[in-house]
Amino acid sequence: MALLEIEDLRTYFYTRAGIVRAVDGVSLSLSHGETMGIVGESGSGKSVTCYSILGLIPRPPGKIVSGVARFDGIDLLSCSDRQLRAIRGKRISMIFQDPMTSLNPYMRISDQLVEPLLVHEGMSRSGALIRAVESLEELGIQDASTRINLYPHQFSGGMRQRIMIAMALISRPEILIADEPTSALDVTVQAQILELIKQRQRELGTAVIFITHDLGVVASFCQYVTVMYAGRIVESAPTGELFARPMHPYSASLQQSIPALHQKGQPLYTIPGMPPDLTLDIEGCPFAPRCGHATAICREQRVALKEITSGHGTACIRFQRGELANTPLASTAAAL
């Protein structure tokens, strides 16, 4: 049974410019201990999806229009604030993108680390401090018992991200949502942080939702990938499958946009056009205007995600009809 099951989540933002359909009918499920990557470009709704299930959407202007997010028999989208608060930081926790701004500059690390323990587990301060030191040591911070008394500005970015991870994992959550945890770090530190998350995940058996726009990270880190575009899921597949046999032209184009070292001298591939305006209610496939394979049928109606092979679903109607089954998607997209 799935640990977390999201069905038809729609989160809209009611702005002056109109209704922004940031998340428009997303369904996904996460099993125990699984690592799922959510990829997509900026504004594709990856973060909003995760913020929605934790009730972190600013309301107003945001509003969860429909959907269910079942977690251990509780619907996260309709439960009370108090119930949700008991889950946040205890059973589902989150790491943010920028470690520079996600720690309170006015509080010592120790005070921030023990907070979830004091609030959720009613631990004594001294007990919580011991646990906090342990959790820092587990993330490879040396001399943790001394350094725990420092303030955030006395740490480097990579160190702060370790502290954030320690804080998120301190109460042994079942799900860890990592919202681009390595985007603000330099490449060498990125690898360390990824390795640490992976290692802690193995030790604790935590399921991880990994939000990123870096396909390389997905390839090395996730078992399962969900590709989002314009607030919808366009493809979801086991990682290997997605890279070997993409079933949506968008995923294929994404892969092609990865800079490769051996293609020296060639211009970098970019997907032509712009992401659609989310205030418009898009009838057909949102990627159709940029897609090299689009035909009239693509613009006609909304297509639901459909499983083609086991665990591998696509929202491309032409693929679902078998019209593109034997076409090498990526190269044709490039031919545009």
């Binding site: 934790l54 972190l56 107003p60 949700l84 608060r85 008991a86 889950i87 946040r88 930081g89 205890k90 926790s93 989150m94 943010f96 993108q97 920028d98 701004t101 996600s102 720690l103 309170n104 500059p105 006015y106 509080m107 010592r108 120790s110 005070d111 907070e115 979830p116 609030v119 959720h120 301060r125 001294s126 401090l129 011991i130 030191v133 001399d143 018992s145 001394t146 350094r147 725990i148 008394n149 420092l150 303030y151 500005h153 006395q154 740490f155 954030m164 804080m167 998120a168």
Partner: protein, 365 residues
């Protein structure tokens, strides 16, 4: 706990000796350690303490009462020698009546200036001067700050006035901070309709003329010293709440607040542990600006007859009175003004220092 042999790559923010893991590490204790390194702030702190102690204890030692008047000593200058006029019923009889004079001028108006000077000199040199059944000699009384037009000792009055001013200044400021910070933080943190309603309420209060509020309060509850605190506090918190609200709104969209929410912390904890410490710098700066403001407001109220009633006094009242006799007796303005300014200066220095001390990033090592 601490491994001293290993070189710590990060310096401790403050040299805290023997700090154990168990010890609570409060913002305030750190701030105090940092404040001790700031000389100007320390100067402000000690000056302020000195003034406060003087005002509290001083009146017991001046040997004058703040309210007893001595009509013949009106407006005597500081350290002016005082002449004692002793009057005898009959020469040689022990029943005497005394009168202290700030100068002999008024007593010998009918004489020529040269004669007056001669008599004055004689008395000043320690000799006695007799005329009729009165004897004039130098008194051993002194008024260090001189006396006011009613012959009251200015030193005692400045110190007693200081008590009132400091009490009003601090009590009213505390009232305004307590209300203003909680109100502003709650409005800013809640946002949306709650924010609108709370801030419109503040706007309505703001629009009411201050003196009208005070007069209404006085009419309802009678003239009362405590009411002064309430009245001033009730007006000053409006500014504070606006400042705090603005800061909280700027802060609450920062990632660390989102992180705190995502950790499942309850709203009150986020407000009091995460948000308010972050705006402490602004609060303290604004507090140091509020204290003098409040003291001046108190003077205004007293001037209108709504505040401190004579013979009781405050610095504001003394300065106001002194400014009216500035040409003839400048010390009446000078001394209360010196105390007032010194207090405000020291509070500002202290406030500046506290703001720096409360910011963990400001430590220079």
């Amino acid at each position: 706990m601490r491994d001293s042999t290993r070189a710590a790559p990060f310096a401790d923010p403050v040299p805290v000796q023997g700090e154990s893991l168990e010890r609570g590490s409060s913002l305030w204790r750190d701030a105090w350690l940092r404040l001790q390194k700031n000389r100007i702030a320390l100067f402000g702190l000690w000056t302020f303490m000195l003034i406060a102690i003087l005002c509290l204890g001083g009146p017991f030692f001046t040997s004058y009462s703040y309210e007893s008047t001595e009509i013949s000593l009106k407006a005597s200058a500081p350290t002016e020698r005082i002449v004692l006029r002793t009057e005898f019923r009959k020469v040689g009889e022990p029943r005497e009546s005394y009168l202290a004079l700030s100068s002999l001028e008024d007593e010998f108006l009918e004489r020529s200036p040269a004669e007056r000077r001669a008599i004055k000199e004689r008395v000043q040199n320690g000799n006695e001067f007799r005329e009729g059944n009165a004897a004039y000699r130098l008194s051993n009384q002194r008024h260090v700050f001189g006396t006011d037009p009613l012959g009251r000792d200015l030193l005692t009055r400045v110190l007693i006035g200081g008590r009132i001013s400091l009490a009003v200044g601090f009590a009213a400021t505390l009232v305004s901070i307590a209300i203003g910070v909680v109100w502003g933080a709650a409005a800013g943190f809640a946002g949306g309709k709650v924010d609108t309603v709370m801030m419109r309420f503040a706007d309505i209060l703001y629009a009411l003329p201050f003196t009208v509020i005070v007069i209404l309060l006085m009419v309802m509850f009678g003239r009362n010293f405590v009411l002064l605190f309430v009245a001033i506090g009730a007006v000053e918190w409006l500014n504070m709440s606006r400042i705090v609200r603005g800061q909280i709104i700027a802060l609450k969209n920062q990632e660390f607040i989102e992180a705190a929410i995502s950790l499942g912390l309850p709203a009150y904890r986020i407000m009091f542990r995460h948000l308010i410490p972050n705006v402490m710098g602004s609060i303290i700066i604004y507090t140091t600006l509020t204290v003098p403001n409040v003291m001046l407001l108190e003077a205004v109220l007293s001037f209108l007859g709504l505040g401190v009633q004579p013979p009781l006094s405050s610095w504001g009242v003394l300065i106001d009175e002194g400014s009216r006799t500035m040409e003839t007796s400048p010390w009446l303005l000078f001394f209360p003004a010196v105390f007032f300014t010194l207090t405000l200066f020291s509070l500002n220095f202290l406030g500046d220092g506290l703001r720096d001390a409360l910011d963990p990033k400001s430590s220079k090592d």
